[in-house]
Amino acid sequence: MAPSSKLSQGIKKASRSHAYHRRGLWAIKAKHGGAFPKAEKPAAVAEPKYYPADDVKPRKASTRKPKPTKLRSSISPGTVLIVLAGRFMGKRVVFLKQLKSGLLLVTGPFKINGVPIRRVNQTYVIATSTKVDISGVNVEKFDDKYFAREKKKKATKTEGELFDTEKEATKDLPQFKKDDQKAVDAELIKAIDAVPDLKTYLGARFSLRDGDKPHEMVF
């Protein structure tokens, strides 16, 4: 509604009743049964007791997604790897596949050198040029969840049992893991036996000797 024009500062052209009529408030009132419709006030927000001292912008969550770990070009399924650290250091081991976490799935085979189906990080491994044929091996079922630690159930202990440590801590391998090991190794060992000396090679551990220069070695 255009404001009433002014005659001069503070003096409107239209009178009070004239302006009322012109604005049509009477029609709105009639439409709403005699009273001007009151807009509902939004529920008063309770004033927070404390305001933060500084005006800080909330940090936005990062949208960065890490890239999948790149597999070294020297490593392909069937490559013999030398483990450089850990319980099995020096052991020569057969590479099966790369898991989604980026870790390498690896097996001894267990019968040959005692290394079970295990995960190993790429940086703790040297790839040799020796390859084993693993076309007969099925590694579909292995993923990172297979290797997850079992959640210990918290059994409420009586006072006497509180001091009985190791009572529930049995570290036996579940039978299905032993079976999986046998299944994978059966095919592998056949392929290994086909190559002369490969079995003893895998059974022997790698070690540096006097006079060895790792930076000059070709693996």
Binding site: A85, M89, F206, K213, P214, H215, F219
Partner: protein, 112 residues
């Protein structure tokens, strides 16, 4: 090599000698140590070892975590000069007793 390892002992590290700290004639900078790795004689050879982890191992009188052996971890940072000496930084600076003693240069993180 520790914790009652039965069976074969394998060496998966190169031996290195701690020569001292990075220094000039009359100032020394203890945050960086100089290490001579066995068999490494040129600047180009050092490239293979860049980034490899090293451990300075020493014995103490008291046992911590069941063993008297203690370790300071570090890594090879860059070559030092033309003749195969290497600069290394450790988690905490090496003590002066380490000069002339051995350090283990591991083959990881590996990129072969």
């Amino acid at each position: 090599m520790v914790k009652g390892r039965t069976g074969q002992r394998v060496r998966l590290y190169a031996r290195g000698t701690i020569l001292g700290y990075k220094r000039s004639k009359s100032n020394q900078y203890e945050t960086t140590s100089l290490v001579q790795i066995e068999g490494v004689n040129t600047k180009e050879d050092v490239a293979w070892y860049a980034g490899k982890r090293m451990a300075y191992i020493y014995k103490a009188k008291t046992k911590s975590s069941e063993t008297r052996y203690r370790c300071i971890w570090g890594k090879v940072t860059r070559p030092h000069g033309n003749s195969g000496v290497v600069r290394a930084k450790f988690k905490s600076n090496l003590p002066p007793e380490s000069m002339g003693r051995k350090v283990r240069v591991f083959m990881y993180p590996s990129s072969i």
